[in-house]
């Protein structure tokens, strides 16, 4: 067969695409589908805006988030009165504050801007922790199978029955209340110092990480099980690839899509967990602003100054919207067959 005929045959077999041309990368392909999804683009844009807000908070926020101006307690800018007419009779007007000042005279807008830092940190660290623990645990369990799998999965089953949120509350409350009783130099003391330096976020991560990895472990295991018996794994094993190599080079790249999607869809859950913990006073340490603690502070005066609750609540809701839109879009983009499920 001549070279020309060979090329012609190749062309007809592959539908016109020469075999030598590399197939479109899965991620490039997915990204292309993602940016065609309008809701996902909106979500992604909001997430980018939030990231910019969090990173450049000191430049964006017009005032300090912690400086208390007692003379300006509960002041309201004039434009808000048309939105909240009930405040008209008693509100003290001060146009220095874009969204008003809180009960100790801190700028609400600046606090909301800084609050994005906490929520976004949780939004990125939460998945990182649960992916790390969950993937390793789940892939070991799924890859080795048999008795190892059985024991590891029974452990997950038992932990699954743990009322997660109650457990996080327990953990946090205990660690927080014992901070003062710890001896300097001990491990617990070092950890609590680190936590204090992070504004109280370390224990939130620990709590979320401890309770969120189980779902990931189950998902990973299921995925590994489905890929494990495929021919290309068999092939890799035949040419003598080690277990580690098969796991990281051959299995993981094939299952990463669903894991990423599951984590993206889990992000709103992490954000609302942090907000709730801060709401009941177990989250970040004051004066670090978190939208959850701002809502809780505002709820005290919701009858008189609704703006102090409504704006942080809106910030939280918009952020969760954005991540939900992005997660949905990512799922559709990575696996179009799943469109509209879950």
């Amino acid at each position: 067969m001549s070279q020309e005929a060979m090329r012609l045959k190749e062309k007809t077999l592959t539908g016109g695409v020469p075999l030598t041309q590399k197939r479109e990368n899965l991620w490039v392909d997915a990204f292309r589908r993602l940016i065609r999804n309008r809701a996902a683009v909106v979500g992604g844009t909001i997430v980018i805006i939030l990231i910019v807000m969090a990173v450049f908070a000191p430049q964006i926020a017009p005032r300090s988030y912690e400086k208390q101006v007692l003379n300006d307690q509960n002041t309201v800018p004039a434009w808000l009165l048309s939105l909240f007419p009930t405040m008209k009779p008693y509100a003290r007007i001060s146009n220095d504050y874009l969204l008003g000042a809180d009960y100790v005279g801190r700028d609400l807008f600046s606090r909301i801007v800084y609050g994005a830092r906490v929520s976004l940190t949780v939004a990125f660290i939460g998945p990182l922790i649960s992916l790390l623990i969950g993937t390793i645990y789940g892939s070991i369990s799924g890859y080795f199978g048999g008795r190892v799998d059985n024991i590891m999965m029974r452990i997950v089953d038992v932990l699954y029955a743990f009322p997660g949120l109650l457990f996080i509350i327990l953990l946090l409350a205990f660690f927080r209340s014992t901070l003062t009783k710890l001896e300097p130099g001990t491990f617990a003391y070092t950890i609590s110092q680190l936590d204090a330096r992070l504004g109280g976020m370390l224990f939130i991560f620990v709590g979320i990480g401890l309770t969120a990895w189980e779902t990931m472990a189950r998902l990973t295991r299921g995925q590994v099980l489905s890929v494990r018996e495929k021919e290309f794994i068999e092939a890799a094993r035949t040419i003598g690839a080690s277990n580690l190599r098969i796991m990281f080079r051959h299995i993981l790249p094939n299952i990463i899509g669903p894991l990423v999607v599951a984590e993206t869809l889990a992000i709103p859950g992490y954000i609302s967990t942090e907000a709730f913990l801060s709401f009941i006073g177990l989250g970040v340490n004051p004066p670090t602003p978190s939208w959850g603690s701002m809502i809780s502070d505002g709820a005290q005066v919701i009858r008189t100054y609704p703006n102090q609750t409504v704006f942080p609540a809106l910030a939280l809701a918009i952020t969760m919207f954005a991540f939900n839109f992005l997660g949905d879009g990512l799922r559709d983009a990575l696996d179009p067959r799943l469109r509209g499920t879950q």
């Binding site: 009930t86 089953d157 038992v158 029955a161 743990f162 009322p163 997660g164 949120l165 109650l166 457990f167 509350i169 327990l170 953990l171 409350a173 205990f174 660690f175 209340s177 014992t178 009783k181 710890l182 709103p268 609302s272 907000a275 709730f276 709401f279 009941i280 959850g292 809502i295 809780s296 505002g298 709820a299 919701i302 009858r303 609704p306 609750t309 409504v310 609540a313 809106l314 939280l316 809701a317 969760m320 919207f321 939900n324 839109f325 949905d328 509209g340 499920t341 879950q342």
Partner: protein, 351 residues
């Protein structure tokens, strides 16, 4: 099936022992105790208190005693003494013999009450809230999902799915204060906080009076809690129904000339609800722990408030009791869902 249920019940026991062990260990591993005060109590009083609650026993003994009191049913001829140490959640006279089971012990912080007292008074309220929220989730979620699927890619579909995405994106601590502000403060239609049901309850938690006095308090919290779950149900119902109406037997039903309404109700809906049943387990779990959040937002005197204060007070029996009780709920809810699932879908067998 019987074997499967038996195996799951054994699993429940394992779960409870592990959960109690971890919780117990955690409570005692962290420095501080229930009777620590800003100004330390005199050592004699401290010793007496610890003796009264057996906190001076070695830890393993405390733990085993606790397990014995909670898990092992007792049959005695003695009537209940009515003391704080002798309060069993289940206490029934069968013939001349008393069956007594589940003594969660006295509460350390409210001295005149036992953990069982707290359960009896607060748990029904949490259960009412949880049930109402589940109803809200089903009543809003299923119709939205069905409409969206039957009118796929129309404006109805988009509106329903937008409502669903709003539902999953708005947590209770956002929706709660907003509802309070709109309906409680501005419009003054509903009381912003509190709870209306009073004992006696039917079946342990159902209020006997179902009037406006109950609903005016219950509407906002149950919507705030249930909306997120209703969104999940709506999306799942839609996906499942969309898949079902493409099945061959639906085409057969249409081909034999069955009315479209009957095709949907008799054939499609019934089969498409099977996957929806499976998420009721995890959903129940979310709602049960969600009641904690909702109770704190709306100032409802359920278990939530007691749990949080019991932790700050180091009220060990209340903490243990609550966590164990909720673990039981979660496991049993999942078991019930699995059984219902097998019943609905005969292809599923658990043996």
């Amino acid at each position: 099936m019987g074997r499967y249920i038996a195996r799951r019940l054994i699993y429940l026991i394992v779960v409870l022992i592990v959960v109690s062990f971890i919780t117990f260990g955690l409570m005692h591993a962290v420095p501080g105790g229930p009777f620590d005060r800003e100004k330390a109590l005199p050592p004699e009083i401290m010793a007496n208190l610890e003796k009264r609650y057996h906190l001076d026993d070695p830890l393993w003994k405390q733990y085993l005693n606790y397990l014995y009191d909670v898990f092992i049913p007792r049959l005695t001829t003695q009537p209940p003494k009515g003391t704080l140490e002798d309060d069993f959640l289940i206490s029934a006279k069968i013939g001349g013999i008393w069956l007594r089971w589940m003594n969660f012990g006295p509460s350390y912080s409210s001295r005149s009450r036992t953990v069982n007292d707290i359960f009896r008074q607060q748990l029904p309220i949490s259960a009412q809230l949880g049930t109402m929220a589940l109803l809200v989730a089903l009543i809003i979620g299923m119709p939205l999902g069905i409409i969206a699927a039957l009118k796929q890619n129309t404006i109805f579909d988009y509106i329903s799915m937008s409502i669903a995405i709003i539902g999953v994106s708005v947590p209770v601590i956002v929706l709660g204060p907003l509802l309070i502000w709109i309906f409680g403060v501005t419009l003054k239609w509903l009381p912003p906080t509190g709870w209306g049901a009073k004992p006696p309850y039917l079946l342990g938690f159902l209020p006997t009076k179902w009037g406006w006095d109950f609903f005016k308090f219950a509407i906002m919290p149950s919507v705030a809690l249930g909306l997120g779950s209703s969104a999940v149900i709506a999306r799942l119902t839609r996906a499942s129904l969309l898949q079902t109406i493409r099945e061959d037997y639906i085409r057969t039903a249409r081909a034999k000339g069955l009315q479209e309404r009957l095709v949907i109700t008799r054939h499609a809906l019934k089969n498409s609800l099977i996957p929806v049943v499976t998420i009721l387990g995890p959903m129940f779990a979310a709602l049960v722990t969600g009641t904690f959040v909702t109770e704190l937002v709306f100032g409802i005197p359920g278990m939530g408030k007691y749990f949080v204060t019991s932790i700050t007070n180091r009220d060990y029996p209340v903490i243990m009791g609550t966590i164990l009780l909720y673990a039981v709920f979660l496991v049993i809810a999942n078991l019930v869902v699995d059984i219902v699932y097998a019943y609905l879908d005969p292809r599923i067998r658990y043996d």
